[in-house]
Symmetry: C2
C-alpha cells in the first residue's frame, strides 16, 4: 500500500514538473513573440492555454486521490499540499503568458518604438526563477528555493525602473504613449509571473523544511 | 472523534471568514485613502498587513492539523483543501491592498487631477465579489459563487476602459501623465483582487459540488 502510494506521489511530482515546463515554454514563446514581433507565436501561446488547464486538472485530481487513499505521513502530506498550491500557481502563470501574448499582439500592430527597457533580460530572470523553484521541488534543495525568493526583489526593482522610464518617455514623447503603456503592462505581467515563482519556492521550502518561510513560522504537523 | 473533527472544521471556516473581513477592510481603507487623499489611512493598511499574515499562518496550521488528525471524508477533504487555497488568495489580497496603498501615497503627493475614471465604483464591485465569495463558503451557495465568477468579466471590461481612458489622457494632456499612470496601476490592482475573489468562488464551488468549475470537470474523490 505504502509503495503504491509513493509511486503515485512520484508520478505526481513528475506531472508537476512537466506542467512547469509547459508554463515556462508559454512565457518564453510570449517573450520571443515580443522580441521578434511575431503575431503567429502569440496565437500559439493563446491556443496552448487549454493544454495547461488540462494538466492542472489532472494534477489536482491525482493529488486528491492520494489524499483520499490513505492517511499520509506528515512529510508526504506537506508535499501533496505544496503540489496542490504550486499547481494553481503554474496555471496562473499560463494565464499571464496569455495576457502577455495578447498585449504583444496589440503592441506589434503599432509602429516600432525604441524604448530603452530590457524586457527580454527581465524575462530571462523570471524564467530562471520559475525553473529553479521547480528544480527545488525535485531535488529537495531549500537553499535554491531561498535564492528564488530573494530574486523577486530584483524583479520588483526592474519593474520600478520600467515604470519610471515609461513615465519619462510619455512625458517627453507623448506620441510614443501607446507603445510605452503596452510595454509597461508586459513588464508588470512578468512581475506577476515572478510572484507566482516565488510562491512555488515558498511552497517547496514549506515541504522540505516543514517551515513556513513566508514568515519563519514552524508548523507542527 | 468525528465530533471534535467537525468542531475544528467549523472553527476553521470561522477563521477564514474573519480573515476575509480583514482583507476586505484593507481594500476598503486603501480605496477610502484614494478617495479622500488620506496618507494616514495608507499607513494603516501597510501596518495591518502583518495581522493578515498571522491569520493566514493560523489557518494553514489548523487545516494541516485537521488533515493529519484523521482521514477526512471526501466532502470534508474538499472543504479543507478549498480553505487552504482560499487562505492563500486572501493573503494575496492583503498584499494587493498594501500595493494599492503605496500607489495612493505616490498619487496624493501630486497635484489633484480630475480623471473621468470611477475607481471607487470599481472597488464597490470588487469588494462585493470578495464578500459574496466568502458568503458562498458559509452558506454552501454555489449559485452565489457562480455569480461572482461571472462578474469578473465586468471588472475586466472596466479595467480595459480605464486603460483606454488613461491612454487618451496621456496623449492629449501629457502633463497629467504621472497621475494617469498611478490611477491605471490602482485600477489594475483592483483587477488582481477581483481575480483572487474569483479563485475563492471557484474553490467554494469545488467544495460544494465536488465539481471543478474552472472547466466543468468532475473530480471523483
Amino acid at each position: 500500500m505504502r509503495t503504491r502510494f509513493h509511486e503515485g506521489l512520484n508520478q505526481l511530482k513528475d506531472k508537476l514538473l512537466s506542467m512547469g515546463g509547459m508554463a515556462e515554454a508559454a512565457v518564453e514563446q510570449a517573450i520571443c513573440a515580443y522580441r521578434e514581433r511575431a503575431p503567429g507565436l502569440c496565437q500559439k501561446v493563446i491556443a496552448n492555454e487549454a493544454l495547461i488547464d488540462i494538466a492542472e486538472r489532472e494534477i489536482d485530481s491525482r493529488a486528491l486521490d492520494l489524499l483520499a487513499m490513505q492517511q499520509p505521513m506528515a512529510r508526504d502530506l506537506r508535499l501533496i499540499l505544496a503540489i496542490i498550491k504550486s499547481n494553481a500557481d503554474l496555471e496562473r502563470i499560463g494565464d499571464q503568458a496569455v495576457n502577455m501574448a495578447r498585449r504583444v499582439v496589440g503592441l506589434i500592430e503599432l509602429p516600432p518604438a525604441e524604448l530603452p527597457t530590457d524586457i527580454p533580460q527581465m524575462a530571462v530572470i523570471v524564467c530562471e526563477m520559475l525553473r529553479h523553484s521547480l528544480e527545488a521541488f525535485v531535488t529537495g534543495d531549500a537553499a535554491l528555493a531561498q535564492r528564488v525568493i530573494e530574486r523577486d526583489e530584483h524583479v520588483d526593482r526592474l519593474n520600478q525602473e520600467v515604470f519610471e522610464l515609461v513615465e519619462r518617455t510619455m512625458e517627453t514623447s507623448p506620441e510614443l504613449t501607446r507603445q510605452a503603456l503596452r510595454t509597461l503592462i508586459i513588464a508588470r505581467t512578468l512581475g506577476r509571473i515572478a510572484d507566482h515563482a516565488t510562491n512555488i519556492a515558498e511552497d517547496a521550502i514549506f515541504w522540505i523544511r516543514g517551515t513556513d518561510v513566508r514568515r519563519n513560522f514552524e508548523i507542527a504537523v
